[in-house]
C-alpha cells in the first residue's frame, strides 16, 4: 500500500516535471526573486500557424491583386496528430469561413484575436510579471489580457481576449482561459465558439526560448479536445519593444466601403457628379 502510494507520488512528480526536464535540458532559466521562471520580455513565433494550424502548402491568397505578397506561406501542422478533430457539421462551417475569408476573417477586420491566436500572429507580444499577476500585451490591435495568478474566478462576462486564470506547475505557466467570444483560429477559417475552454502551457526551454502549448476544448465544434504546440522566441535585440498597430483604420475599406457617399448613392442608382469609379 505504502509502496503503491510512493509509486503514484513518483509518477505524478515525474509527469509534472517530465516535459520541463526533456525540453529544458541543460538550459539556464532566469528566475524571479520568488523562484518562478522570469518569462518577461518580447516574444514571437517563427512559423506560419496563423495561415493554417494544419499542414498547408504555398498557394494564392485571398487577394490576388497583392501578387506574391498575398500568397499563403507553407508550413507543417502545429496540431498534435496533424488534423483538427472537427464534428462533421463544423467542418462545413470552416469551409464557409475559408470561402469568405477576405471579408470575414476577424484578423482582416482588426478584431481582437482571442486566445490562442494572439500568441502565433506574425507580430510580437510582451509579457510582464507583476507582484500579483501576469500581463500580456499584444502588438496586434493593441489587444491585452491579464492572467490572474490568484483570485481565480469564472469569467464574469464574455470578451474577445477571454478570462485567464493562471498558476505554475513546476516551471510551466499554466493558463486556463474561458469566457471567449466566438473567434477564428487562423486565416484558413478554423474556429471556436463561446463554449471553448483553452488550456495553455508556457514552458521555458532556456533564457530565450519557450514551448507554447494550447489545448482547445469546445464540444460544440470538436469531437475531442486537441492540442497545438510550437516554440516561442525571445526578441534578443537591445531595442526590442512593441509598437502600435492600431488597425481599425486599415479595416475601414472592407467594413464600411459601401457606406461611402459616392458608393452608396451609385449603388442606389444616383451616381454622384464626377464619379468615375465604375
Amino acid at each position: 500500500m505504502g509502496g503503491k502510494m510512493q509509486n503514484k507520488k513518483l509518477a505524478v512528480f515525474l509527469l509534472m516535471w517530465l516535459p520541463v526536464a526533456v525540453l529544458g535540458q541543460g538550459a539556464s532559466v532566469k528566475r524571479l526573486a520568488n523562484g518562478v521562471p522570469d518569462i518577461q520580455g518580447v516574444w514571437q513565433v517563427m512559423n506560419t500557424a496563423n495561415w493554417n494550424l494544419e499542414d498547408h502548402i504555398a498557394e494564392q491568397g485571398a487577394v490576388e491583386s497583392l501578387g506574391a505578397i498575398g500568397a499563403v506561406l507553407p508550413g507543417s501542422s502545429v496540431v498534435t496528430g496533424k488534423t483538427i478533430p472537427y464534428l462533421p457539421e463544423s467542418l462545413a462551417q470552416r469551409e464557409a469561413n475559408f470561402a469568405g475569408r477576405r471579408l470575414e476573417d476577424p484578423e482582416a477586420k482588426c478584431f481582437m484575436p482571442g486566445i490562442p491566436r494572439a500568441t502565433y500572429l506574425p507580430q510580437p507580444f510582451q509579457i510582464f510579471q507583476t507582484d500579483s499577476d501576469i500581463f500580456m500585451a499584444y502588438q496586434f490591435a493593441g489587444a491585452v489580457r491579464n492572467i490572474y495568478m490568484s483570485d481565480h474566478m469564472e469569467a464574469p462576462i464574455d470578451s474577445w481576449m477571454g478570462w485567464s486564470n493562471g498558476h505554475w506547475e513546476g516551471d510551466s505557466l499554466v493558463v486556463e482561459v474561458a469566457g471567449l467570444n466566438p473567434n477564428w483560429l487562423d486565416r484558413a477559417g478554423n474556429f471556436y465558439t463561446s463554449t471553448a475552454k483553452i488550456t495553455e502551457r508556457f514552458t521555458p526551454l532556456g533564457a530565450n526560448h519557450m514551448q507554447y502549448e494550447a489545448t482547445i476544448d469546445d464540444p460544440e465544434v470538436f469531437a475531442r479536445a486537441w492540442t497545438i504546440s510550437m516554440p516561442l522566441y525571445r526578441h534578443v535585440e537591445d531595442n526590442a519593444r512593441l509598437f502600435e498597430f492600431k488597425c481599425p483604420e486599415f479595416a475601414e475599406e472592407i467594413m464600411y466601403n459601401h457606406l461611402k457617399r459616392e458608393n452608396y448613392l451609385r449603388d442606389a442608382g444616383f451616381p454622384v457628379d464626377g464619379d468615375s469609379d465604375e
Binding site: F111, F135, S159, K246, P248, Y256, Y264
Partner: protein, 331 residues
C-alpha cells in the same frame, strides 16, 4: 433613489471626502505602500472621474479653489443636470437611459477636490493662446468637418473610429464614463492600462531618452524614472494625429513634450500632475492636476471597434437622408 436623496447622499460624500483628505494629509503614521522591490506602489485600479472641468469658468478669474459650500452647490447643480437627463420624457432626455449603461455619473466613484479647474497654469486656469499655425489648423479642421464629416468612415472622429480616445493622452484626462485605469508595475516598467479603449501605455523605467528607439506613436513614446517617491514620465514622439485632450482639431504635434508626475499620497489617492509643452501649438506651456482615487477591480475589456455599430448607423442614417432628398428632387 429620488432626487433629494441622491443630492444629499452625494453632498454627504463631498463633505466626508474633503475632510478626510485634510485629515489624511496630516497623518504622520501613514507609510507608503511598496512593491516587493521597494518602489512606491502605484499598482491597482484607479478612477479619475470628476466634475472638475479642464478649463475654469472665466468669471472665476484666478480663483483656484472653491469653498466647501461653493463646491457643494456646484455638485448639487451637476447632479440635478444628470438626474434630469435620466428622467424619461424630459427635454434633457435626448440621450438613451443612462442608468441602463452604468453611465449615470452618480453611479460612479467620482473623485472629489475643491479645484475650480484641472488646469492651474496659466493662472487663469485656461488653455494658453494657440499659435497662429494652430489657429489655422483648427479653422481648417472646422471647415473640413462642416463640409466632409459625413463622407465616409475615414472622415469621422478618431474616437468614433475606435482608433484612440482623446482622453488617453498623455496627459490622461477624465472621461464622462468608464474612467477606470489599471496601473501595473514591474521593476523595469510601469504599464498604464486605460479601460477606454483598452490601450496599454508601456513605460520603460530605464531613465532613457523617450526619443531613443522611438517611432511616431499615437500615445507618443514614454520613458519614466523615480524622483524620490514620485514617478516622473516624459513623453515625446507623438504621431501628430492624436488630439490634444479636450480640444479636437488641434493634434499633439511631433514637437510635443509632456511631463507627468504620479505621487501616491495616501491609500486611496495618487496625485497626478502634468505639463504640456508644444511650441508649434501653444504660445506657452500649460499644467494641470487632479487626483486618481483607488477603486475595486476588476476592469473589463472595452472592445470598441469590434462592436462599432455606431459608425455604421451614423453613416447609414446620413446616406438614407441624402438618398431620400435625391429621390424627392427627381420627382
Amino acid at each position: 433613489m429620488n432626487k433629494c436623496m441622491q443630492v444629499s447622499f452625494w453632498l454627504a460624500g463631498v463633505g466626508a471626502l474633503s475632510l478626510s483628505a485634510l485629515v489624511v494629509a496630516q497623518d504622520d503614521t501613514w507609510e507608503m505602500p511598496r512593491t516587493s522591490w521597494g518602489a512606491p506602489l502605484l499598482q491597482g485600479y484607479w478612477t479619475n472621474s470628476t466634475f472638475v472641468p479642464l478649463e475654469r469658468p472665466e468669471a472665476l478669474g484666478t480663483q483656484q479653489f472653491y469653498s466647501l459650500e461653493e463646491m457643494a452647490e456646484n455638485i448639487r447643480v451637476k447632479i440635478e443636470e444628470n438626474y434630469d437627463e435620466n428622467l424619461t420624457g424630459t427635454a434633457a432626455d435626448v440621450h438613451y437611459q443612462f442608468d441602463d449603461y452604468g453611465m449615470n455619473r452618480t453611479e460612479d466613484n467620482i473623485t472629489q477636490n475643491l479645484r475650480t479647474s484641472i488646469i492651474y497654469d496659466p493662472p487663469n486656469g485656461r488653455y494658453p493662446a494657440l499659435t497662429d499655425q494652430a489657429k489655422a489648423n483648427l479653422q481648417a479642421y472646422t471647415e473640413f468637418r462642416r463640409d466632409h464629416q459625413w463622407d465616409s468612415a475615414k472622415t469621422r472622429s478618431l474616437s468614433e473610429r475606435c482608433l484612440i480616445w482623446d482622453q488617453e493622452g498623455p496627459p490622461i484626462m477624465p472621461l464622462g464614463y468608464n474612467s477606470t485605469h489599471r496601473f501595473m508595475q514591474t521593476e523595469n516598467y510601469v504599464i498604464l492600462l486605460h479601460e477606454m479603449i483598452h490601450d496599454a501605455r508601456i513605460i520603460p523605467l530605464d531613465g532613457g531618452d523617450p526619443a531613443e528607439n522611438s517611432l511616431p506613436q499615437w500615445l507618443g513614446n514614454s520613458r519614466g524614472h523615480w524622483e524620490g517617491d514620485t514617478l516622473v514620465v516624459e513623453t515625446t514622439g507623438y504621431s501628430g494625429r492624436t488630439n490634444t485632450p479636450g480640444l479636437r482639431g488641434v493634434p499633439m504635434s511631433s514637437q510635443a513634450h509632456v511631463v507627468e508626475r504620479f505621487t501616491r499620497v495616501d491609500d486611496s489617492t495618487i496625485e497626478y500632475d502634468f505639463t504640456v509643452t508644444d511650441p508649434t501649438v501653444w504660445e506657452e506651456p500649460w499644467s494641470g492636476t487632479y487626483p486618481f482615487n483607488s477603486i475595486e477591480g476588476p476592469m473589463f475589456e472595452y472592445a470598441c471597434h469590434e462592436g462599432n455599430y455606431g459608425i455604421v448607423n451614423i453613416l447609414s442614417g446620413v446616406r438614407l437622408e441624402e438618398l431620400e432628398a435625391l429621390k424627392a428632387a427627381r420627382q
